[in-house]
Amino acid sequence: MGETIVITSGKGGVGKTTATANIGAGLALLGHKVALVDADIGLRNLDVVLGLENRIVYDLVDVAHGHCRLKQALIRDKRFEGLYLLPAAQTKDKTAVNPEQMREICQELKKEFDYVIVDCPAGIEQGFRNAIAGADRAIVVTTPEVAAVRDADRVIGLLEAAGLNEPKLVINRLRPKMVRQGDMMDIEDILDILAVDLLGVVPEDERIIVSTNRGEPIVQERNSLAAEAFRNISRRILGEPVPLLDLESNGNLLVRLRKMLGLG
């Protein structure tokens, strides 16, 4: 029996879908069978980020309403062995499924897959309730900004109230340079305020936009810190104790020099 992990945030646009795609592909690269579920009904995104938008026949709502079998709606990602997508419906709205139906779908997927990863819509309304209904554990994504961390705090409270205790935090779009200049909250600030465990830190990386343009998860790329961050997050989900990335190692000349001289 597999495990269902929901990826939430509260605030929109902080990187839930990007994280879902890359963690999913990352776990598949590590040899696991993974089903990604796009629970953002009406604003289907995950298919596009994964480059699978042309292969959709049935969707989550069709499965929930018995218009097709679960297997028929699952799209196999040919690039990542073991990775599958259950797409959201684009023309329906969030009330087209209910938490009970989501729970059943996740339950059924868990029989087949090692990991079921649910991409949650922004907000804390019904779409959120649906997305977390079948989850065994939760990941909260935030960026190092006041509004995003505030919403993360709210979501952590709601997750715990729903019995999803101790959600893990992913801090996305960190800019090491700004942190160094004292113009961005650092990892410690955020962990201190939210009082949760850290799952990983993903730096701001232009190549994420490039890879999204192409419809290819960045996680397999070499020479990208964001890719490495997502690979590490995937391994931590498996329980491996992977140390945090040194986010300075690429950009900063001084740090590179210090490294070369064996000082860093």
Binding site: E145, V146, V149, R150, D153, R154, G157, V179, R180, Q181, G182, D183, M184, M185, D186, D189, I193
Partner: protein, 95 residues
């Protein structure tokens, strides 16, 4: 703050970083958010307060009022507790 950060701070033109401001604002926002989401929390606090205070004095339970009062940059717990009578001898546990 380590030396590296201090050096960087001195070299950066913007002066004091905005992160301290962000952190402080966030801290305050969350005090409000977390307090305002649960009226039960205040009820529990009231009950516990009464229990402790009644060890020392007799209070008018119905008149008890507590609230979180926010000034510009602080949040204070303000309690108004009418006292009926102070007990004459209070056994204080040795510290």
């Amino acid at each position: 703050m380590d030396l590296w950060q201090i050096v960087n701070r001195l070299l950066s033109r913007s002066g004091a970083g905005s992160k301290e401001i962000a952190r402080e604002r966030l801290r305050l926002i969350l005090v409000h958010d977390r307090a305002s989401v649960s009226p039960e929390l205040l009820e529990h606090l009231k009950r516990d307060l009464l229990q402790v205070i009644s060890r020392y004095m007799e209070v008018e339970e119905r008149g008890l009022e507590i609230e979180l009062a926010s000034q510009e940059d602080t949040v204070a717990l303000v309690a108004s507790i009418p006292i009926r009578r102070v007990k004459r001898a209070v056994k204080v546990a040795p510290v």
